[in-house]
């Protein structure tokens, strides 16, 4: 009795969940970077980034 179906199912479900996690996190990272780039392209900057930019411009 090898119960091959149960073993295969356990590993396939594990692989599916882990690949799903990786795909979701990578997609989320890309979405956040895109939103950040869009905002910065519109000239919206964090106060610290705006301060840094002003400091460089003054020097």
């Amino acid at each position: 009795m090898t119960h091959a179906g149960f073993i295969a199912a356990a590993y396939l479900v594990s692989a599916g969940v882990l690949f799903g996690l990786v795909a979701w996190i990578v997609a989320d990272g890309r979405a956040q970077r895109r939103r950040l780039a869009d905002l910065e392209a519109r000239g919206v900057r964090r106060r610290s980034a705006a301060r840094d930019a002003a400091g460089k411009g003054a020097s």
Binding site: T2, A10, S14, V17, L18, G29
Partner: protein, 243 residues
């Protein structure tokens, strides 16, 4: 670099960019080694036969489901006591990972239980307390999603997380305190592991691989959460400027 330096989200992003390629390489190599050991070197069990190979994904998932919650509890202390800027980011990012590993524990345990016990599920203390852990993870995720202010959501979630730690010793000792269909502890127990080295070594290699994978995913998820909060701040700045 001392730990307090990582309190700065920008420094954490820089560090994660440098560390992640190495962490991923270590995770993939260890996972490949672990799978080789689990399938080609570990012998079949004298009673369970080949079905024992489910242990090599079930047990590391179970350890991580609990260790992940422990990490969230430490991060919650960081939020409430030290107000560490990354503590809430770590706790929020760890919750979906913990939920995924708890789900895997329950599903692979069920797939192991059916051929060995003759049933997919019983309401014994170990299985039920692990299901409660999944429900706690899902509740915390829902709480973070339900509130707009990440600071307020983080403090509420931290309190709830710390209350939920009462479930961790219940999961661990449920097999000793009550009569369960689930077997007693066979690795972390007084008197040492009851498993032969031929199975114990592959199990530990798989546990290290899953832990490295968890660490890599957590670091990526934390970087995403830092970016999400920056986007939120910028959107509010833009809205205020437009008002």
């Amino acid at each position: 670099m001392v730990l307090i330096d990582l309190a700065n989200p920008t420094r954490f992003l820089d560090l994660s960019r440098r560390v992640l390629p190495w962490l991923w390489a270590a995770a993939v190599l260890t996972l490949a080694l672990g799978l080789y050991l689990a399938f080609f070197l570990a012998p079949p069990d004298y009673q369970q036969g080949q079905t024992v190979r489910i242990m090599f994904v079930h047990v590391p998932s179970a350890w991580l489901s609990m260790a992940g919650y422990g990490l969230m509890a430490v991060a919650s202390l960081g939020t409430l006591v030290w107000r560490h800027p990354l503590a809430d980011v770590a706790a929020k990012s760890a919750a979906p990972l913990g939920a995924a590993f708890t789900f895997l524990t329950l599903v692979t345990g069920s797939l192991w239980g059916k051929p060995m016990w003759g049933t997919w599920w019983v309401w014994d203390a170990r299985l039920t307390s692990e299901l409660v852990l999944l429900l706690m993870y899902l509740g915390l995720i829902a709480l973070w999603q339900a509130m707009d202010d990440p600071g307020r959501a983080g403090r509420l979630a931290a309190v709830l997380t710390l209350v939920g730690t009462v479930n961790l010793p219940i999961i661990k000792f449920s097999v000793d305190w009550w009569n369960t269909l689930h077997q007693p502890a066979s690795v972390f127990r007084a008197g040492g592991p009851k498993i032969d080295d031929s199975m114990l070594v592959p199990l530990f290699v798989m546990a290290v691989a899953f832990t490295l994978l968890y660490a890599a995913l957590l670091m990526m998820a934390m970087a995403n959460e830092i970016l999400r909060r920056r986007v939120r701040t910028l959107e509010m700045t833009a809205a205020e400027a437009g008002a």
